[in-house]
């Protein structure tokens, strides 16, 4: 029998050693940080879920999955350059990504970097005549689509002196169109002011949304000239106390795209002090760029990032090859330039990604939670120890010893499986302590009954363990079922709860049924066989 006990003790010692190694091994090998991986809710950080954005539904399911996979790599590159330790980026479902960033300070900046598509294009600014010619037709299209009553006040009044625009209705446009009454409404034309530069119109700040909505009308889109694209600029212009947004008419075909970009940096323009992003193209990209720009010396070139014209399009004075720069204009700061350089270096996302879920916990709240969780855990464990020893005395003490091994197994298990400890995870831990205690209670109560039934100490203990076993197995397995389902359906924190609960159940089963029983066997060996067993 004693060899049985020593065999059991060796098994227990082995389990404890494995758990200790899982817990302390990494730091013994010189790795820094806590062996337990803390969840974002405990250490602070951001959880983001992104989805491939395809509002028009033009992508096939395969294309979406492919886009998500490639976006994962590119976002990974960007985050690496942004300098976040151990980010987690994984694809879930067909077209979604989960990004977890621990302990970051500037969440909004990180989000902007992740979310930015960073699609770079260079296009020549046209003289805008293609659009001007069609304006009368576009005006009547807007009126036809929305009805005259739906137009805002500004678009309905006839031009006043100050607003008298410079787009004299070209004759050609009027001849092509069946002519509406002379006093026709000109909702779009009235809002587009001449900037004095060819191919650039200005829209007053409050009217931007209106113009956008007109240009987004399907019937208007269909009638825009195919050869050009109409894009907003990032730089606003103030004239006479009013803010105007520039609208550029550029070639539809780009000279070149960011695909050929190899490097980008952010610096201050030595001359003007404004932030600029010089970049370099590949050899092949340089050749394409050279060919393109050589045909357009003297024209203005719009640098377009994610569909917005950056700064003020520069005039091409000379043929450009593999080097050029993006000017961000006066409103931008260097950080913004750095972020643009970063996303350009990491490459463009194959498709826009939109954030569909965000969970952010600030570092201070995380620290509060750790402190409070730790306090609660210690108080909870102390309460259990007091209750067990007061109620079951020596056997209770043995159960408490078992409980300590249980805690070691759970923490070692969490470290070994690299599971993440979250706040609900701590709750799960506490709950599984309750279950570990329950198993002991079941056994001890059963032993008490067996003793009352007249059995000797030794047989009472044996049959106590034996009879309590079926209830312990059933209750542990049903809880395990719940925990596994929770893991399947839960996100971050809830998953953490499921993980600690599952590890806790397994550990509690082992300690109650094996460890505590071993301790009781030793105890029975050492006491006088005739003494009455008191539990």
């Amino acid at each position: 029998m004693f060899s049985g006990i020593s065999g059991r003790l060796i098994a227990i010692a082995a389990v404890c050693l494995v758990c200790l190694w899982a817990l302390l091994g990494p730091s013994l090998q010189g790795e820094e940080g806590s062996p337990l991986k803390l969840g974002l809710d405990l250490q602070g950080g951001t959880y983001l879920e992104l989805q491939v954005s395809d509002p028009e539904g033009v992508m096939s399911p395969e294309a979406r999955t492919d886009a998500a996979d490639r976006a994962r790599e590119i976002i990974g590159n960007r985050i690496d350059q942004f300098g976040v330790r151990e980010p987690t980026i994984q694809r879930i479902g067909a077209d979604r990504l989960i990004v977890e960033l621990a302990g970051i300070q500037d969440v909004d900046r990180a989000k902007a970097i992740i979310e930015q598509t960073a699609f770079l294009e260079f296009k020549i600014v046209t003289d805008g005549m293609l659009l001007v010619e069609r304006l009368p037709m576009l005006d009547s299209t807007v009126v036809a689509a929305l009805g005259a009553e739906a137009l805002p006040e500004e678009a309905r009044t006839e031009p006043t002196q100050g607003l008298e625009d410079l787009f004299q209705q070209p004759d050609s446009g009027q001849e092509e169109e069946p002519e509406p009454p002379r006093s026709q409404l000109r909702p779009l034309t009235l809002l587009l002011l001449d900037s004095g530069e060819p191919g650039v119109f200005l829209v007053e700040g409050p009217q931007v949304e209106t113009v956008e909505s007109y240009l987004a009308l399907p019937s208007v889109k269909a009638r825009l000239p195919d050869e050009v694209t109409i894009l907003w600029g990032t730089e606003t212009r103030g004239v006479a106390g009013k803010i105007y947004h520039p609208l550029y008419v550029v070639d539809a075909e780009p000279l070149i795209t960011g695909d050929y970009l190899v490097d980008a940096q952010a610096i201050r323009d030595p001359q003007f002090g404004t932030p600029i992003v010089p970049f370099q193209l590949t050899r092949q990209g340089g050749r394409i760029f050279e060919r393109g720009t050589s045909r357009h010396v003297g024209d203005r070139m719009a640098i377009i990032l994610d569909g917005k014209v950056q700064g003020s399009p520069p005039v091409i004075r000379d043929v450009l090859r593999d080097r050029a720069q993006i000017e961000l204009g006066t409103g931008a700061d260097l950080v913004e330039a750095q972020d643009i350089a970063l996303v350009l270096r990491a490459g463009a996302l194959p498709a826009p990604m939109e954030i569909i879920e965000e969970r952010t916990v600030g570092p201070s709240l995380g620290q509060d939670s750790i402190d409070q969780g730790r306090t609660a855990l210690i108080i909870g464990v102390v309460l259990v120890i007091i209750l067990m020893i007061a109620y079951y005395r020596t056997a209770g003490l043995l159960a408490v010893l078992g409980l300590l091994i249980y805690v070691l197994i759970v923490i070692g298990g969490l470290a070994g499986l690299q599971a993440t400890l979250t706040l609900p995870g701590i709750a799960g831990l506490i709950l599984s302590i309750g279950m570990a205690v329950d198993a002991n209670v079941l056994i001890f109560e059963r032993i008490r009954e067996e003793i009352e039934g007249g059995k000797t100490a030794r047989t009472a203990v044996d049959s106590g363990f034996q009879h309590a076993l079926s209830a312990i197995i059933d209750s542990n397995l049903t809880t395990l079922i719940t925990a596994i389902i929770l893991y399947q359906f839960g996100t971050g924190p809830v998953k953490g709860f499921a993980v600690t609960l599952s590890i806790g159940i397994v550990a509690s089963f082992f300690t109650a049924v094996f460890v505590v029983r071993t301790f009781m066997l030793i105890w029975l060996e050492r006491r006088s066989p005739t003494a009455e067993l008191r539990i």
Binding site: E357, R359, G362, S369, T375, A376, L387, T479
Partner: protein
């Protein structure tokens, strides 16, 4: 020390009263849900944005509401949270969408109303409406699947009557817990669904321990009437029921008091659920087993009782 040693309470005789208590609890809960206009779903399930904000200076909930009103948000809740000058704000809008324009509006308004740097957003949870709908479906799915699997497991380990009685008791618990959630105006979020699933697990655990004893006593005490076997089994397991519920509640109370505001609601739901679960395993599950046995004509017929042997450890 021993509590409830050799207890001999006639629990089953009291079952009519227990039915009334249970019915009253369920009805009160349902009334509360109806009067509140349904359950209070959090942003996890409806979509929207929740943020917890901490002000350095004295700011009232009304100030916060006013500032957000100025920024053009009218569908919002502002709630005091923990310390003074700390609030939870819930907006129906998902601020991340559409180029984060709404988020910028909120930030600018707060900077304007309270001054930049005088506040800290310590937590933010944003869920797009479509994700909210998905999460709701997944939560309902999780509860139903866990039900189904448990039923299958119990059917395999016991016989179907035990499984049915256990499910009746669990449905009873969930109904009451939802009522309490509604009464305390706690919102249904992912953590509260986790709490509800935990309660299901705990309540089943409690019921199973008693059913395990009934199963054993049915084999051992064949001559006794069914109702006495039930009473006896409940009484025999009573010390364990009290001790386990007691320690679990003690730990949960420690968590509720010292664990911080973030998980307080989660813990309160668990505490209520465990008390209900303990009550139901005695006063609902066993009577339900009796009623099922009587209706299915299975009382004292041993032919279809599955023989279960416990494996020794």
């Amino acid at each position: 020390m021993r509590l409830f040693a050799n207890a001999d309470y006639k629990f089953l005789e009291q079952r009519k009263k227990a039915y009334m208590v249970s019915a009253a609890l369920v009805v009160i809960g349902l009334l509360s849900i109806v009067l509140h206009g349904g359950l209070n779903y959090g942003v996890d399930f409806t979509g929207g944005t929740l943020f917890q904000i901490r002000f350095a200076e004295d700011v009232t909930a009304a100030d916060v509401r006013g500032a957000l009103g100025e920024a053009g948000f009218d569908n919002l809740q502002v709630q005091d949270f923990g310390a003074r000058g700390e609030f939870i704000i819930r907006l129906a809008e998902f601020l991340e969408g559409a180029d984060r324009e709404l988020q910028t509006r909120v930030d600018q308004q707060f900077d304007e109303s309270f001054g930049a740097g005088t506040y800290e957003v310590v937590r933010r949870e944003g869920v797009a409406p479509k994700v909210g709908g998905e999460l709701r479906q997944r939560a309902i799915g999780a509860v139903l699947i866990s039900f189904l699997l448990t039923l299958i497991y119990l059917g395999f380990r016991f016989e179907w009557r035990f499984g049915l009685a256990a499910i009746i008791a669990t449905v009873h618990d969930i109904a009451i817990v939802f009522g309490v959630i509604s009464l305390l105006n706690i919102e249904i979020s992912l953590p509260s669904v986790a709490a509800i699933l935990t309660i299901i697990g705990y309540s089943l655990n409690d019921t199973i321990v008693i059913f395990d004893r009934i199963r054993e006593n049915l084999k051992k005490l064949r001559r006794l009437p069914y109702i006495e076997i039930l009473d006896r089994s409940i009484n025999e397991t009573l010390p364990r029921t009290v001790m386990t519920s007691g320690t679990t509640l003690a730990v949960l109370l420690a968590l509720a008091i010292f664990g911080g505001a973030v998980i307080r609601e989660f813990t309160i739901v668990l505490i209520v659920g465990i008390m209900i679960g303990t009550y139901s395993s005695i006063f609902v599950a066993s009577p339900a087993l009796l009623e099922v046995e009587q209706r299915s004509g299975g009382v004292r017929s041993k032919s279809d009782r599955r023989k279960v042997t416990a494996t020794a450890g």
